[in-house]
Chain length 157, copies 2
């Protein structure tokens, strides 16, 4: 039995385990420096821009969906950007990701967000299959650009 | 002479012209329903999650960068997501996009954001060339998934 709930104070460490699992899948462990308290500070701020759902199996955190508020210039309204959809290795292939997607859809509907969107790597075939099953529109042929830290400062006018 | 400034009340119509120009480039005019007042409501809210820079040539709005606050689960900190980088057709090939990127980098540095990131379509070779010139890291092989409106409600658990 999978149950999904909103993150609570104290969930920072569980969320970090999810981020670590994703970083392993993407081979980006060197980029991961967040601490549990960073997540809790953002999640439980006065006017948070982020939120998280925790999926549990028998009361144990099995997966999470970490999202933030976004804005569509086409629609002129806020929507949800799904930053991370993570399932711990021991709990994969049991429907956790689907349960999280459905719960996030419910959260979006409840709060008046008209859409959810997310990016995923083209090699993520399991993800693509789930998203297609849920009826998502999928647009391929995208790249991401990043400017950070020293490089960001270097181009500041 | 290109000058870049932050958006002010009254800029909603100029921003909509930029969104329209992007929608033409992407052939997504049917998705564009935003009104100038939608942008102004978001930009000048009490705790805004979005911001916009306007590039002017001889005092005329030539381009804009529309961004929103985002959050990295790897870094545990907020960063800037560049939603739209737009230049009106009559002002292209004059350095407007580069001026906007540099001004956005300065804004990020000034406000303590460690990074800017954005997505772009792989067919956007002019964009890719600019981002490479600015030293951006570029990661290819991404897809975007979207669940909205009826489809979002259909999967809500």
């Amino acid at each position: 039995m999978i149950s999904v709930r909103e993150a609570r104070p104290g969930d920072g460490a569980a969320i970090l385990r999810m981020t670590e699992a994703l970083a392993e899948s993407h081979n980006t462990q060197d980029l991961l420096v967040a601490k549990p308290e960073d997540y809790e500070a953002a999640l439980f701020a006065q006017q948070p821009i982020v939120g998280a759902l925790i999926a549990e199996i028998d009361g144990v955190a099995a997966g999470s969906a970490f999202w933030h508020r976004s804005f569509s210039t086409n629609r002129g309204r806020e929507l949800i950007y799904l930053e991370d959809l993570a399932v711990l290795p021991a709990f994969r292939r049991r429907g956790v990701a689907e349960a999280l997607m459905r719960a996030l859809a419910q959260l979006a509907v409840d709060r008046g967000f008209y859409a959810i969107y997310w990016f995923f790597m083209d090699w993520n075939e399991a993800g693509r299959a789930l998203y297609a099953k849920l009826g998502a529109e999928i647009i391929s042929g995208n790249s991401v650009g990043v400017l950070k830290d020293e490089q960001l400062r270097a181009i500041a006018r």
